[in-house]
């Protein structure tokens, strides 16, 4: 099983670049984060899919914290709504990780491919 403690060495520049691109896209399209991070990690760093997905979540923890602090002073955040959708999502993420561990890595990549094609269609067709 792949493990984050015995990874191939990843240089700092592709990681920094992936971060910048994901932030750029988040600001420009409202879609950044994992949708950009995971495919670029697979493409540029050769991290195994499971590690890429888990590491993407850790990055999102940082970016969502920073983003929330930035908006916290304004009245754009509906805290009640954030809790009402965020709390069930915590249950969802635990379920998702449970399934992820049982799914072969190649099937995980297929599933992710289907997901981003769906998002891509949504953007192209302006739905």
């Amino acid at each position: 099983m792949d493990n984050a403690s015995n990874l191939p060495k990843v240089s700092v520049y592709p990681l920094l670049g992936i971060g910048v691109v994901s932030g750029l896209f988040a600001a420009m399209f409202g879609i950044g984060g994992g949708v950009v991070i995971v495919p670029l990690l697979l493409l540029l760093t050769k991290l195994p899919p499971r590690i890429a997905a888990a590491t993407s979540l850790a990055t999102l923890l940082l970016t969502s914290l920073i983003g929330t602090v930035r908006y916290a002073g304004s009245d754009h955040i509906d805290w009640v709504a954030a809790i009402v959708i965020g709390a069930p999502a915590v249950i969802g993420v635990l379920l998702g990780i449970h399934f992820q561990k049982r799914l072969p890595a190649d099937w995980l990549v297929v599933g992710f491919g289907v997901l981003i094609i769906g998002i891509g269609l949504k953007l192209v067709l302006q739905l």
Binding site: N3, A4, L15, I18, G19, V20, V21, S22, G23, L24, F25, A27, M28, I31, G32, G33, I37, V38, L43, A52, A54, T55, S56, L57, A58, T59, L60, L61, L62, T63, S64, L65, I66, G67, T68, Y71, H76, D78, I85, G86, V90, G92, V93, L94, L95, G96, I97, H98, F99, Q100, D106, L108, V109, V110, G113, V114, I116, I117, L123, V124
Partner: protein, 133 residues
């Protein structure tokens, strides 16, 4: 948000779906949160994005914690990407106001479709090769 039985049920459904995607694929859930808040709860795009960011915090925190206990998180990479993303957001906000975003998001969408297709094709080849091998 008005809390009625219907909105709470919808919010729970959308939350669980977003969390599942987060756990399975490492996306935050904004892909589901933002359109749901806009279309179902009549949020403005900006309010939806800001609220979605706040809702992602517990998801990413619990997910990263759970994955860390299985040693799946490459924290050095996450920190470096996080720093890069903070820089990217600042630049993106500048650029976003100066570009025709409809065409741009269609181009971005096309790139996603192509990369999704490439992922499926290459992963299917590996699956097939393993079956034969």
């Amino acid at each position: 948000m008005d809390l009625t039985l219907l909105t709470i049920c919808l919010a729970i459904g959308c939350g669980i779906a977003a969390g599942l995607l987060a756990g399975l694929f490492g996306v935050g859930g904004g892909v589901i949160f933002v359109p749901t808040l806009v279309l179902v709860f009549a949020f403005t795009q900006l309010d939806a994005q800001a609220t979605s960011l706040a809702a992602i915090i517990p998801v990413a925190a619990v997910g990263a914690w759970r994955q860390t206990s299985d040693e799946n998180v490459y924290w050095r990479g996450a920190l470096i990407m996080g720093i890069g993303a903070a820089v990217g957001v600042l630049f993106g906000a500048e650029v976003a106001t100066r570009l025709p975003d409809e065409l741009l998001s269609q181009v971005f969408g096309a790139v996603l479709i192509l990369s999704g297709g490439e992922m499926i094709v290459s992963a299917s080849r590996r699956i097939k090769a393993k079956r034969l091998g």
